[in-house]
Amino acid sequence: MQTKPTALKILDIVSVLLLAAATYLALFYAPEEAVMGQVQRVFYFHIGTAWVGLLGFLLAAIMGIVYLVTHDQKWDIVEMAAVEISLVFFLITIMLGSIWARPVWNTWWTWDPRLTTAAITELIYIAYFMLRAGIEDPDRRARFGAVYTLIGGVSAPITFMVIRLVRSIHPVIIAGNDPSSQGTFAMTGGMQVAFFFGLFAFTVIFIDLFWNRIRLGNLAAKVEQLKLNITN
């Protein structure tokens, strides 16, 4: 338990290499976009981090159900790892989305469905951690966390669809552009390479972080168990 498995050590190195490669492709290999200029390159990582956030989100909701069914603490640890990673990566997604919006639409924030849902999901995650922080008993904490990830997991997609419905019924014009088009641009060959490689690299990065975070969670659970034993 204490020493890192070799597979994980290798995965760590592979992840770093893939990230470096993805950065190179995004910054240098992909051609410059004609309308927006260099800021468009932010898009490759914006989508990559959104993808990681989404993976974490889905896993968390599934793990919530699995924990409620099995009552096995390891699923609770997996669930918390997924939520935490998704929290960090959605945060990056939102910040990159905002940075992209500024030169393109002359605004720091667009109330478009994807960004807004990401922000609301962040609030759900923060609420999740606040809920867990207020509970001493590990079993109850796990149960409540699982129920809340389930509720949040169902609510966020509904929120996304509802906001999109708002947009389609009442298209809002912001800074002279319709943000729902998300600044579409035609992706040429070089761009597609950077884009898809980015998705691949971020998937591997997610797995690496996930594994590491689960190990950390196991360690934390062990420490907490010992503390409870000693104080009893």
Partner: protein
Amino acid sequence: MFFLDTPPDTSSYMILGYAVFFIVTAIYLISFFVRSRNLKQDLSMLESMKPESKVMESKTPVNKVTASSTTKVNKAKAKQPAKTKTTKAKAPASKTKKKK
């Protein structure tokens, strides 16, 4: 429009974006290391406490001095018969725990 021939220079935003990505990711990774180190320190401290309390229990059941015990010596002596029973009951329980 001036921008028909050359795209606008938005590279400062690009740099900002990538800086944000790497800085936040770095902070997250550092938090991993910090939390991991703290937990390992806690773990080693807790594990060094465990054998101490076990040794005390198996040696002298009368003078039960564990981390949780806060009763004064007089009270402890008065409650001896009850305490001996509980310590004896606890000792095998903690032994089976360790075996796991």
